[in-house]
Symmetry: D2
Subunit: 335 residues, 4 copies
């Protein structure tokens, strides 16, 4: 089998990152990129040495040299390329969240089911992080007994707030329980093996108070009862001192933590203020291995015929849970 030939739809930060990782994979090559602005398409083609460039996903999908696509557009623009690519019989790697509404998710699931001969997955890259993968393996091996509680904390540093507020003012509504939370909702389902039943959520726009005018918040705290008698605590925030994603899975016989102290690297420093360990600054650095791992796994699935673990339905269920958390937050505010 020759190299898998990829087209990348959406060439922002995420699209470029997947491009770089695909170019590192000896079994894949990126042959096309697609975005709305012709000049950007051309610039990316030159920077990364990509032969074909398109401003229209139909043209890209019409190119018979393309085996697979990466959908890295904004979340509300996933549906069109995914459904069209299903009809065109391509393999599809879609960024998370799968979509912004459950209706869109349903349409996507239907299209994906009709294209079952091809591979489809959603980019919940945390599952491919070496630490999360090891945590899952240990849990599956029974090392902590039966999982009863998942705790997920996902924080961005407060430096992201001005840009986020600007976006919100311009109508880009991506509350953190949905945008960031989609990772934690996926992890909760993955580790607990159940689905959410009842949610309770609090929080507020504590630092960037203007967000409250848009039903948005900079910190959200939630507790969710699962249908298999387990529980998930999910906390999201944009006011951290660093980029910090930590998780804990409590079992009946032990507990596993991932990234409880978000060390930037192996340096510790003795100062008059104490022992200091600098923290993780950017999610791209933190998840570098995970991003590379997920796309390599997808290429491997295409090559071997193995189905990806994460399905379109996982994407739907993660979003459904996110929307529940967000609604629970809004309900709490009404009281």
């Amino acid at each position: 089998m020759g190299k898998i030939r990829f087209g990348i739809v959406g060439i922002g930060m995420m699209g470029k990152m997947h491009m770089t990782n695909l170019q590192r994979n000896p079994h894949a090559e990126v042959v096309a990129v697609c975005a709305r602005t012709a000049s950007k398409v051309k610039a990316v083609q030159e920077e990364f040495g990509v032969p074909y460039g398109y401003t229209n996903v139909d043209e890209l999908l019409a190119n018979p040299e393309i085996d697979a696509i990466v959908v890295a557009t904004g979340a509300d623009a996933h549906k069109e390329p995914v459904i069209k690519a299903c009809k065109a019989g391509k393999h599809i790697f879609c960024e998370k969240p799968l979509a912004k509404t459950l209706e869109d998710c349903a349409e996507i699931e239907e299209a994906v089911a009709a294209n079952d001969a091809k591979m489809f997955t959603v980019g919940f890259m945390r599952r491919f992080d070496p630490s999360y993968a090891e945590a899952k393996a240990k849990i599956d091996a029974g090392e902590i007994g039966t999982p009863i509680l998942f705790k997920g904390v996902s924080l961005d540093p407060d430096t992201v707030l001005p840009a986020h507020l600007e976006g919100v003012k311009n109508g880009i509504y991506v509350p953190w329980f949905i945008e960031m939370g989609s990772h934690d909702t996926d992890l909760a389902r993955w580790f607990l093996g159940g689905d959410p039943e009842e949610c309770f959520a609090t929080g507020d726009a504590y630092v960037c108070k203007e967000l409250a005018d848009y039903n948005d918040y900079d910190n959200g705290f939630s507790l969710t009862k699962f249908d298999n008698n387990t529980t998930a605590y999910i906390q999201v925030g944009r006011t951290g001192t660093c980029s910090h994603v930590e998780s804990e899975i409590v079992g009946t016989k032990g507990t596993i933590r991932v990234n409880s102290v978000p060390r930037k690297n192996y340096v510790s420093q003795f100062t008059k203020a104490g022992v200091v360990e600098e923290c993780q600054e950017s999610f791209l650095m933190r998840w570098r291995d995970a991003f590379e791992g997920e796309i390599n796994d997808f290429v491997d699935c295409i090559m071997t015929g193995r189905k990806p673990e994460t399905t379109a339905h996982d994407g739907t269920m993660s979003l459904k849970y996110c929307l529940q958390l967000h609604q629970a937050y809004l309900d709490g505010k009404k009281k």
Copy 2:
């Protein structure tokens, strides 16, 4: 001023521990003990060199040589000695929880108010732990901005389960949200500066399943909205791998954690399994400084006339919150 002369009511593990700490305090002496069983009273008198022994709190309170009492009986036996000691004009140090019902709390508060010339406090010793005290000082100094979230986790090792189940079967009903939780509810109020408004709780008798027959549980998870727009996550359990109490206070500008890794001491060991740090085994060891600190502070209050920070009302409010958590747990089970 001479030494403060103490009588100790209740001479179980806690009573003896307070005795030892009082005997170490150069400004205090223990002159009397009181318990129901005469032989035990006599044994403790001999072991600790205590001149007076009583089997009846009235007799103890009638002794004019006694300035202050420590109430270390079971939680439902606090009310009687406290109210009588108030009437007798003694200083009173009462173990936590203040009582087991809000009605008892109200009676105690009333009696304490009428004995206002004397000192009264409740034994929330965590406030006197050097680490918690430092956390509070840092927070009061503004080091983490405004607190918005308290997370309290209090776990006992699963070795406590058989004895606990035995107790439950014998009618001793101390669900963990009330017994252990009283510390966390006090800390939540202390750190957040507000009171609980709405609670959501889950959990179950996951390991010691028989507890469910008694409306008891071995793990409880809860999220509580506070009246000052802050939130508390409180988790209690009896299935830990060690004795582990950790707390986190999240502020708008930083976060403080206490005992995130419950190290037993300063030893770390490199083994084939990895780097291992043994964990805290017993709460008496973990809180040794705190227990000594709280009683020393109480002695100091008596000597200087300064009022203890923790009031009878704090005891009431802590219990009220515990009962809310416990009820939220029961409500969740009914669905």
Copy 3:
């Protein structure tokens, strides 16, 4: 048996600390103190409630009510009270280092041998620190195989430098390899079970350069070959960022570290600079349990007739090793 009645010779910081710990021990009481200055003796008697006060050790030893003494004078003033107390048939707890010359050590050892019916020990309190005691127990249990290397690092914060320089200028010559090093030389012998054979040492007066004029230094680094084919690395310094004593014992099957990160307490703080853990500020705080443990153990030895583990000969051998390190340092400077 009644309480062991102690006299304390030398009432500086160390003498007072031992006094406090003895007063906490239910089997001991301090009945006399002795120091050169009558006014200080009187002040200490009043502060601690001690019946007898002396300015002359002979008078103290002549008091038949005294069973045991603690020698807490300067290192060069240990010999006189120890030898006299041996002749007077008292139990003796002597601060470390045993003396400042090997000649004095020999005289002490001889006197102690002649007073063999009584207890004698040297105050190497680190052996009684819970972490060191656990490390020793694990090693004795074979958990790290055969020890082959001891690494000891003992640092004081640089805030001690001005007072130290002042002392040196006034003729108080206590180079760090001798003063602080005596603990590490004792630990090295304790953990490795051998004696030093050949030393190599470097270092300098890097920060407090004036010390070099007095053959003193603020940092000393050394490597020592032991007679049982093991090795010790000992590092002492007065320019730390905190008070930091850490040790490592490397065995053929594992390694144990003690206090690698000198955490002050259980607090960790997330700040923009990273995760910060404050460090140990004072040796009295760090070794509080150890100091209390060593004196309690000594009291227990007297009561039970068990001989203390640390002998006068250990004191001699520790000093001998210190002097070797110090000489190796001086030899290195001559080249």
Copy 4:
């Protein structure tokens, strides 16, 4: 400028690793490989898609399409390809140690000097590890004052011993002070900014006792006085519980540690035995970023004309220091 075209001399584990990293670099391509065994050359050509294969370095160097070579042969086979490549005017990246004798180093330095228009460096990849690079940057920025002590510990797990002993029996003599030590000697010079003056070393074949028959050892401990009044402690071993390289740089105002706890990833696990963090298993995993960083830096040097920081002379001085340590060890054994 087109891509830099590399030839790789030596296609063992290290040669393949550099190949992979060069193939990931968008500015480089590997056009040739060279090794003694024709079948291996062919296999590697096919696995990695390399157009030219040689069994003779002269033929490789005669290929005008080759701009640069990576020398990844055994240490005693570095001299020939390096000197020939200098004469052929190629850029050269040479693995460490530079050679096995100072005579070979001298010849190499001479040849490199005569090829000064081209780039040359030695593969001390630790300098490119993000943590070491950050440590160096902090030190250069004065964060710890003046460095006075370097401590380097480099341990392999004892699982390497059987293969090592087999090699030694077959005449492959690479004592750890030379093989592994070359990294630490380079780091010591890099951080301290001086050169070794006097060494003292101990150690033994504690676990794999047969090594002693070959003047080899499984643990070496050393202290070295530097010509700028600083000191280096270097410890190497093959009996660790894991692959563990840690370093500490002590300055007059602070201390920096790298990899003090060799965590494998971000997982920590609560078990009955305590909190466990698994450790680094392989040096390839630990230094993945460093290896990629060093070759990327070399490519960048070629492209920009900037000279690599690590020179042939650094390679010589590192080896000289290694040989001093090894000799000091042997001298100690004679006594």
